[in-house]
């Protein structure tokens, strides 16, 4: 057996002009949660418990797009989703459309362990959360000022925001609704920002 191994991520598609201090913040958070996972593995905690533990920590920190600090919908609200899978027996659990569950990954775990299903969404997932007694908070808990600003820019420009894929030339005029040639799912990429 090759021993334990762990990897974490905080999202792909990074603004190439991300300020250095933000880069440092991200690296510190990644290091902190890695060490949390390593300590658990050294205490022989099982793989599925370690991934839940680490993702909970990432959800509770506002830096990345999950849990607190989630990206905002067109309505300025937060709608979260998560999944977990145990390679032993390929058991899995997933949730979508959560608005008040503090740690979505733990509800996904409960779907895997305590329900006959593998995926619950929106009102069904919220109802299951209440039945399971998981920690619930107001939707405002997940909203950060940074993301309110980001959504405002996205709406004003009605186009791409911080998307490095748009040719620099179009970037300055993106406020005039210059449509990027890139499509996603049949829609101009300009209505999305990268995760």
């Amino acid at each position: 057996m090759g021993g334990w191994a762990i990897a974490v991520h905080g999202g792909a598609g990074v603004d190439p002009n991300l300020p250095t201090d933000r880069q440092e913040q991200a690296k510190q958070l990644l290091t902190r949660v890695l060490n949390l996972g390593i300590a658990a593995l050294c205490s022989s905690v099982s793989a599925v418990d370690v991934v839940e533990l680490v993702v909970r920590e990432l959800e509770s920190d506002p830096l990345f797009n999950s849990g607190r600090g989630s990206a905002l919908t067109e309505n300025g609200t937060v709608e979260m989703e998560a999944s977990i899978m145990d390679g032993v027996g390929r058991r899995c659990g997933a949730v979508s459309g959560l608005t008040t569950v503090k740690n979505p990954v733990s509800l996904a775990r409960l779907v895997m362990d305590k329900s006959p299903h593998s995926y619950l969404a929106f009102s069904g997932a919220q109802k299951f959360a209440k039945e399971m007694g998981v920690e619930m908070v107001e939707n405002e808990y997940f909203v950060t000022q940074d993301n309110v600003e980001m959504l405002k820019i996205a709406k004003e420009a009605d186009s791409i925001v911080f998307d490095y894929r748009i040719p620099r030339a179009g970037y300055e005029t993106c406020g005039t609704g210059v449509q990027s040639p890139i499509q996603m799912n049949g829609l101009p990429i300009s209505i999305y920002a990268p995760e």
Partner: protein, 131 residues
């Protein structure tokens, strides 16, 4: 989006992914993260967590592809990751992290940067953002 993949000292693999989705998304939009086989997958051989353009990850069932090419083409973990990032995403932009039951760790991405960290029992540890 955030994710974690782990293989423990008994060779058991697991994966978890969590997200708020896309900024300015339509209410009710579901991305790749909760879809087993797309944003998250784990089996006897490996565990995978993806991030990036959800629609591209869904269409390519990206996470399961890593396990599939390991199982059916006999690729090692990093080769499997490189293959699916290169061959399965079409024009989509995404990244993923993965571990194998033999204690390997790997990641790959075809966009500008990915926030990631990885460590193995033999002392290797890396935290990075750019290529």
């Amino acid at each position: 989006t955030v994710g974690c993949v782990v293989v423990d000292s008994q060779g058991r693999c697991a994966a978890a992914t969590s997200t708020g989705g896309l900024l300015n998304k339509r209410a009710g939009r579901i991305g790749d993260s909760p879809l087993i086989g797309a944003g998250t997958y784990a089996c006897e051989l490996c565990a995978v967590s993806c991030t990036g353009e959800g629609e591209a990850i869904i269409r390519s069932t990206l996470a399961r592809e890593v396990g599939a090419v390991m199982e059916y083409k006999g690729l090692g973990l990093q080769d499997a990751v490189n293959f699916v990032i290169k061959e399965r995403l079409d024009e989509g932009k995404a990244g993923l992290i993965a571990v194998s039951k033999t204690g390997e760790v790997a990641y790959g991405f075809n966009c500008v940067g990915m926030f990631r960290g990885c460590a193995t029992q033999n002392g290797f540890m890396e935290v990075g953002i750019w290529d």
